[in-house]
């Protein structure tokens, strides 16, 4: 019997987003520590453009995901573990939406509009407000660290499935095993 797999599309979306989001996270940490310079302003602009792109891609991904159910979890998993996996994945989706939104709102509150690729101005929902800007900066950071923590759990779970449970959960998401 053919084992349940992710489609090539699902695999491409998963790893593409992983690469984009991890890069955004690392660039975000890095740019914050930079000394004020034209390069810093450029990196901030790139980060914001990439963040808007990630948000658009997450929306497309969600739309696609609603019509394409993933393969079922292995029957060997307990009800609680399945529930845990569902909550974890739900949190990842939530954060993929909330993080770019918090970044956009933070920028607005700090008085720096987001202009996509320096060309397309994205309207400000908030007007400049220093206290609110600082609060949203903290929010953006906390959401990101939450994402990092859940990602550690996500990777840990995949490795556990592979090494301890010896099931197909990790392998079915690997591109070289897809077909």
């Amino acid at each position: 019997m053919q084992k349940a797999r992710y489609t090539l599309t699902a695999i491409a979306i998963h790893w593409g987003m992983a690469l984009l989001l991890i890069t955004l996270f690392v660039v975000g940490l890095y740019m914050h520590e930079l000394k004020f310079s034209p390069f810093k302003l450029q990196v901030y602009a790139w980060h914001k453009w990439a963040g808007v792109t990630a948000f658009i891609l997450v929306m497309l991904r969600l739309a696609w995901r609603l019509k394409h159910r993933p393969p079922a979890l292995p029957w060997t998993m307990s009800k609680m573990t399945k529930l845990g996996a569902q909550i974890g994945h739900g949190m990842l989706y939530f954060l993929m939406i909330a993080i770019p939104l918090s970044g956009w709102l933070m920028s607005s509150a700090k008085g720096f509009q987001t202009v996509y690729f320096g060309v397309l101005p994205i309207p400000d929902l908030l007007s400049k407000d220093k206290a609110l800007g600082d609060l949203l900066e903290t929010t953006h950071m906390v959401l990101n660290y939450s994402m990092a923590a859940i990602l550690v759990g996500h990777i840990g779970a995949a490795i556990k499935h592979h090494l301890v449970d010896k099931d197909d959960v990790l392998r079915r998401m690997l591109p070289w095993r897809a077909r």
């Binding site: 034209p38 302003l41 720096f112 320096g118 400049k128």
Partner: protein, 187 residues
């Protein structure tokens, strides 16, 4: 309409005409502001200056004698963020330690239309002097007048933003300056 109302209307018109001919000699600083907009990576960012002194002699009926001297305290800048405020005080921007003030001294004022004028003069920033021309509207209101105008200043002409900042790719050359003053007529 009775005579009382008519006389107050005529009196009011005469007062207005009187205000029109008055000479304006001071700027009410708490009702005046100096804002600017610059583009950073394509993003318009607002800024302002909090402290400036103005010496004014402006009579719309005697433009040949009109004179405005403007002195701007560069340390009072708000360039949009704390980081930017520290940066613009540095040597490559305003070098505020050596050049704490920017000045403007008018050389001519001419009328463009009713209540519309144009002032030209010498702007000095960071040891560089350039001729600047700015159109403005002048709207008398009782004993004072609203002055609104704007012009574009090219930062490269005053060496504002040197070295790594000299390239316009990150911070554009054109800085839009918007001024709103409330001028008071001499009593």
């Amino acid at each position: 309409m009775n005579i009382k109302v008519w006389s107050s209307v005529i009196g009011g018109l005469m007062l207005a005409a009187g205000a029109q001919a008055a000479e304006y000699t001071s700027i009410q600083s708490d009702k005046s502001s100096l804002h600017f907009v610059y583009k950073q990576m394509g993003v318009p960012v607002d800024g302002s200056f909090k402290k400036f002194n103005t010496q004014l002699a402006f009579d719309p009926a005697k433009l040949a004698n009109a004179k405005v001297d403007f002195e701007l305290n560069l340390a009072s800048i708000d360039a949009g963020s704390d980081e930017a405020n520290d940066e613009v005080a540095s040597k490559s921007w305003f070098n505020t330690k050596v050049y704490p003030k920017a000045t403007f001294a008018s050389t001519a004022v001419k009328q463009l239309a009713a209540n519309r004028y144009e002032v030209s003069g010498k702007m000095t920033i960071k040891g560089h002097t350039q001729t600047i021309t700015a159109p403005f509207t002048f709207t008398p209101q009782g004993n004072s007048a609203k002055v609104d105008g704007s012009f574009v200043l090219k930062r490269s002409e005053f060496a504002i933003g040197e070295g790594v900042w000299a390239d316009f790719g990150t911070v554009a050359n054109e800085i839009q300056i918007n001024f709103h003053f409330l001028a008071n007529a001499s009593k």
